[in-house]
């Protein structure tokens, strides 16, 4: 459904997206993960043809993207991160307007159906200006689904919602997927993606770090332990003694501190302390930092990036 080839976007010398190769299959719920500013929105804008790529190609629904080919766009529904509305319109007028643009048949019934699905049926004649953030998000969903799109692109779809609404929308997304729609969800919340998606791509600083099944990614991020070890000497000279250990994935030193990433299949702390002792160091303290999936992602650092990429190399 979506395929990109070396998609790159540069703004005034700043590279927002670099050599991105995405592949979303029909029927997928694809999670597009990355922290804020990673290049998710730019990528979506390029997918929609609203931002011209600096290089690379985009294929949507099997066709190469062309800004003038509006027929492809009729088969896509989009919910963007921020909701933009004509606030002077009522919700119903708003949907009628878009129905007319997308030439939706049986407008009235379809709109009723959608209002019921998103739970706005009783508010349909209110001005959108009077809507809460959550209601606006739901309305945006309704608009995106209005023309029965084959592909649904959701950019941070639940950003402003309360837990009940999130549940409601998540069910809706799953329902739509069951009906055969391909769904592309971008988010900086792993938990969100975790519950929905079968396949995930992780983007950071414009690069796709990993693209795999949810379960694989999940294992990679959770199968590590980070230890901070304080010793009595300058740490750097003893780097090799630690790095060569088989269970150590990465190691860094700053003055007298080692930051070591270990495999999490068992507790390697005693092995580590023995190795350090043998190289002539006395351990002053040792702290474990075990990250949850969410945390690991939320605080994406150079470490778990290298972690992701390192494992990629190994596998």
């Amino acid at each position: 459904m979506i395929q990109t080839e070396n998609l790159t976007k540069q703004y005034n010398g700043f590279t927002a997206v670099k050599d991105l190769n995405l592949k979303v299959e029909k029927g997928d719920i694809y999670g597009f993960l990355g922290p804020n500013g990673a290049g998710k929105t730019t990528t979506i804008m390029m997918l929609l043809g609203l931002v011209r790529p600096s290089s690379g190609k985009v294929y949507l629904l099997g066709e190469e993207l062309n800004p003038r080919n509006v027929d492809v766009k009729r088969k896509i529904g989009v919910v963007s991160e921020n909701q933009y509305f004509y606030r002077e319109m009522t919700a119903r007028e708003y949907l009628e307007f878009f129905a007319s643009i997308y030439r939706v048949p049986g407008v009235s019934d379809r709109i009723d159906e959608l209002f019921k699905a998103v739970g706005l049926f009783n508010h349909q004649n209110k001005k959108i200006g009077a809507y809460s953030k959550g209601m606006q998000q739901k309305l945006a969903f309704a608009r995106a689904l209005l023309h029965d799109p084959e592909l649904l692109i959701l950019d941070e779809p639940v950003a402003n919602l309360d837990p009940t609404s999130i549940k409601q929308l998540r069910d809706l997304i799953e329902e739509e997927n069951r009906l055969g729609r391909t769904i592309f969800v971008s988010s900086h919340l792993l938990s969100e993606v975790e519950k929905l998606c079968k396949k995930v791509g992780i983007i950071h600083q414009g690069r796709l770090l990993a693209e795999d099944d949810m379960s694989t990614i999940k294992r990679r991020l959770s199968d590590t332990v980070v230890l901070t070890v304080e010793v009595d000497k300058e740490a750097a000279p003893h780097l090799e003694a630690v790095r060569d250990l088989p269970f150590v994935q990465t190691v860094e030193t700053t003055s007298n501190i080692f930051t070591v990433t270990l495999e999490a299949d068992r507790d390697y702390r005693s092995d580590l302390s023995r190795a350090l002792f043998e190289s002539g160091c006395v351990i002053l303290s040792m702290k474990t930092k075990e990250m949850s999936l969410e945390e690991a992602f939320m605080t994406i650092t150079q470490q778990n990036i290298s972690l992701l990429t390192a494992q990629e190399d190994k596998s």
Binding site: T90, H123, N125, K126, K127
Partner: protein, 442 residues
């Protein structure tokens, strides 16, 4: 920082340039000027072209006179104009004028004798230019007419002297008869007072020398060539020869009955006469032509200014062999003939005047008519509608082209209703917005 430096530089440039404005106060200089007797559509305008003006303007296919002379030129800052001291220096420069078009000499002019002939007398604007022998002949005609007048005047004075003597004799005779007791009507014949001769009813100016120029529309250059073949320094000028944009129209001068000294012009056919209440209007029709304002102003005096995008009407000739009609749609309300009128001063504390038709009584009392005109009365009985005035050739039912003007009688008492009318879009808006409010959930 840099932006300030640049700003200071810019300001400095402006100040320096402004400094130049005051610095160049020109002094009195002996300079070549072209003196102009330019046909202006109706008559001839006399002016001169100082060295500061590089273009002369003339009306196409009509003769105008230019002459090149040396005089003192000085700038008169109060009127911001150059003045010429022809009294202290006025020397004609010998030579010929060459007219160039596209760099090629197309005509060479020699000085010719010319006269301005005013067939309706010295005070009339209407003039014709005659050259060479015709000029001499016209002037000779005028001179002989003046001489004839002088002879008649001498005769008149002689007749007057004789008349006075006869009249005195008559009085003496009467006195004697009365003293001798004769009463009633006497049978002595009273001497007839002679009437003075009429002054010459045309005028011709004294023949002068100049270059007579008559060119078709276009842009030209002129220069003065000395008999030895050299060109006079400062004699090169551009010449713009133009024509009228619209001709053949009829314009009107209107004398409102209640203020005969302040007249109105209705030249452009699109202009409308707006009236309210009772009005008596005296219409004077003219043949007219429309010229570019800038060109025509520059023609009248090269130092005049004007705007090239504007146009002005020039009255050429009064029209007096027509009658006028006032009509409403197809219906003719009044047919007006030209008639003489007399402006009667009202003495006493309410100094004013009254315009009355000139009649035999006024004639017998020795008054001359003040003006002749077409009188149209707009009475208060006429309903406030649109009327048309137009001029018709005598004995014809055809309107003179472009002679129609609209007269609108206004309801000026309704002026105060204009403001309420302006509110209607707001009312409309209120209705629309309220109807919208009722359709949405609050």
């Amino acid at each position: 920082m840099r932006i300030y430096v640049i700003a200071i530089c810019l300001i400095a440039i402006c100040i320096l340039s402004a400094g130049g404005v005051g610095a160049q106060a020109p002094a009195r200089r002996e300079q070549l000027v072209y003196s102009l007797t330019a046909f202006d559509g109706a008559s001839f305008s006399k002016s001169f072209c100082p060295p500061s003006e590089d273009t002369l303007y003339f009306i196409a296919d009509n003769s105008s006179v230019i002459d090149a002379r040396k005089t003192f030129i000085y700038f008169w800052p109060i009127t911001r104009r150059y003045m010429a001291g022809f009294r202290s220096l006025d020397e004609k420069l010998p030579g010929t004028i060459e007219i160039l078009k596209g760099g090629e000499v197309i005509q060479t002019l020699q000085r010719q004798t010319y006269t301005l002939f005013y067939p309706e007398g010295y005070w009339s604007d209407k003039a014709t230019l005659y050259s060479d022998q015709e000029a001499e002949r016209r002037f000779a005609e005028y001179q002989s007419a003046v001489e004839a007048f002088n002879r008649k005047l001498r005769d008149y004075y002689e007749e007057m002297r004789i008349y006075r003597e006869e009249f005195n004799r008559f009085l003496e005779e009467m006195r004697i008869r009365r003293e001798s007791g004769e009463e009633g009507i006497t049978n002595i014949e009273m001497p007839q007072e002679p009437s003075p001769p009429d002054f010459v009813d045309f005028y011709a100016s004294e023949p002068a020398q100049g270059f007579i120029l008559n060119l078709p529309v276009g842009n030209y250059q002129i220069r003065l060539r000395c008999p030895d073949g050299r060109i006079y320094e400062g004699s090169e000028k551009n010449v713009v020869v133009f024509e009228s944009r619209r001709t053949g129209g009829v314009g009107y001068e209107i004398i409102p009955g209640n203020r005969w000294t302040r007249r109105e012009s209705v030249d452009d056919p699109s202009w409308i006469i707006h009236g309210a209440g009772h009005n008596v209007l005296y219409f004077n029709p003219y043949h007219q032509a429309e010229y570019n304002e800038l060109y025509h102003n520059k023609l009248e005096d090269p130092q005049n200014s004007g705007r090239i995008e504007r146009w002005k009407w020039v009255h050429i000739d009064p029209i007096d062999d027509v009658h006028m009609v006032l009509s409403r749609g197809e219906e003719i309300l009044q047919q007006i003939e030209r008639a003489p009128y007399f402006v009667k001063q009202i003495p006493g504390p309410e100094l004013g005047y009254e315009i009355i038709p000139y009649d035999d009584e006024l004639l017998q009392r020795g008054y001359q008519p003040t003006f002749e005109s077409y009188q149209i009365e707009l009475s208060t009985n006429l309903p406030p509608e649109e009327y048309t005035v137009s001029a018709l050739q005598d004995g014809s039912a055809e309107h003179l082209p472009e002679s129609e003007r609209s007269i609108r009688l206004l309801r000026k008492e309704n002026a105060n209703y204009l403001y309420p009318i302006a509110f209607f879009p707001l009312v409309f808006g209120i209705v629309v917005i309220l109807s919208r409010w009722t359709r949405i959930d609050r």
